[in-house]
């Protein structure tokens, strides 16, 4: 990968981190709220079903995660597993698409 490409990955990682900081805070508060309220599955789904705001929120969350997690793993694979080069980047690209697919499926499932 070119120097410019690697710089772009670094930028994407920090940008997605900033988005995730907000999403995670909202998510943690939401989950603690749902648990304290003892919400059942039906009650949770009643709040998310047909709610475009939750769908939008979780979609943004999923996209940010699909960018952030593979780039994070890229450094770990290189430094702790000694894996470099194109094959590593191809696998991580596939992992990104995989996360995006099942993540958006999950967001849609609680919406639809």
């Amino acid at each position: 990968m070119t120097r410019r490409g690697e710089a772009v990955l670094w930028i994407a990682q920090r940008a997605s981190a900033a988005v995730l900081a907000l999403c995670v805070l909202v998510h943690l508060v939401t989950i603690v709220y749902a648990m304290r309220g003892g919400l059942s599955g039906a009650e949770i789904l009643a709040r998310t079903r047909g709610n475009a705001a939750w769908l939008a929120f979780y979609s943004v969350f999923v996209v940010a995660v699909s960018v952030h997690a593979p780039i994070g793993l890229r450094a770990v694979l290189r430094e702790w597993a000694g894996w470099r080069g194109r094959s590593r980047d191809v696998l991580l690209g596939l992992f990104a698409f995989f996360l995006l697919a099942i993540g958006l499926r999950a967001a849609w499932a609680v919406f639809g």
């Binding site: 690697e6 710089a7 450094a75």
Partner: protein, 238 residues
């Protein structure tokens, strides 16, 4: 406090193991004093480096009880828990013999980081006027006292994990030049320090800053490089 130090010293490449010595304790003793005693009195075949003995040159850097330090500036009282010492060569550099390491890769990376000044003026030009309290000059001044001792390079985990990583000293030097308004090679230097082998591989363990005997913060310099590369990338210069 015991009157004898039990010292384990690395001997290599043969036998490639620690050798034990007993060294008499003395007031205000430094680790360099200990190594010197061993070589002069107990075993003349011990190889080690030193020069100034007074904390100016950085030649005597070794790993003391697992931590890279200047041995001439490390008092035995500060590090010898219960009179036990372990002295080894600097980490992350190929050993030559005993406590001596090959510093060439350390300085090669300095070159690869474009860690040298490139001017754009001639003898006929007037002096450059650089305000000493400008932000750029203060940034540069915070890092220019580096004497290339290798302690930060040895302390760095990313250097240990990634043999291509340029390392804290080379990147720190590059930053001082990026912030030097007289320098004319800014874009080439930013290209040299960007990427997996450069500033983007720093994971802010801050070990370099923790260990630097001159209180330089390569972490801060590398953060500066990250911001400079970000700006250059956004402006299409990279």
């Amino acid at each position: 406090m015991s009157s004898t130090l039990h010292v384990r010293v690395w001997r290599g490449p043969q036998p490639g193991a620690f050798q034990r010595f007993d060294v008499p304790r003395a007031p205000s003793q430094t680790i360099l004093d200990v190594v010197t005693y061993i070589q002069r009195v107990l075993d003349p075949t011990l190889a080690y480096r030193f020069a100034c003995r007074v904390g100016m040159c950085g030649s005597c850097a070794m790993t003391v009880n697992g931590v890279p330090r200047w041995t001439c500036r490390t008092h035995v009282d500060k590090v010898a828990q219960a009179g036990e010492l372990e002295i080894a060569p600097l980490r992350n550099l190929p050993p030559i013999r005993d406590l001596v390491v090959d510093m060439r890769e350390f300085f090669d990376k300095w070159t690869r980081a474009e860690g040298r000044f490139k001017g754009a003026t001639t003898k006929q030009s007037d002096f450059a006027r650089v305000a000493p309290d400008s932000e750029k000059r203060r940034d540069a001044d915070a890092g220019i006292e580096c004497i290339g001792c290798g302690v930060c390079y040895s302390a760095c985990d990313v250097v240990a994990w990634n043999s291509d990583y340029l390392g804290p000293a080379a990147l720190n030097r590059a930053w001082t030049l990026v912030q030097d308004e007289r320098d004319a090679a800014r874009v080439e230097r930013l290209q040299a320090v960007a990427g997996d082998a450069g500033c983007h591989a720093c994971h802010t363990h801050v070990s370099c800053t923790e260990r630097c005997p001159k209180n330089i913060s390569p972490t801060a310099s590398i953060a500066g490089l990250k911001r400079a590369v970000l700006k250059a990338a956004l402006e299409g210069e990279l």
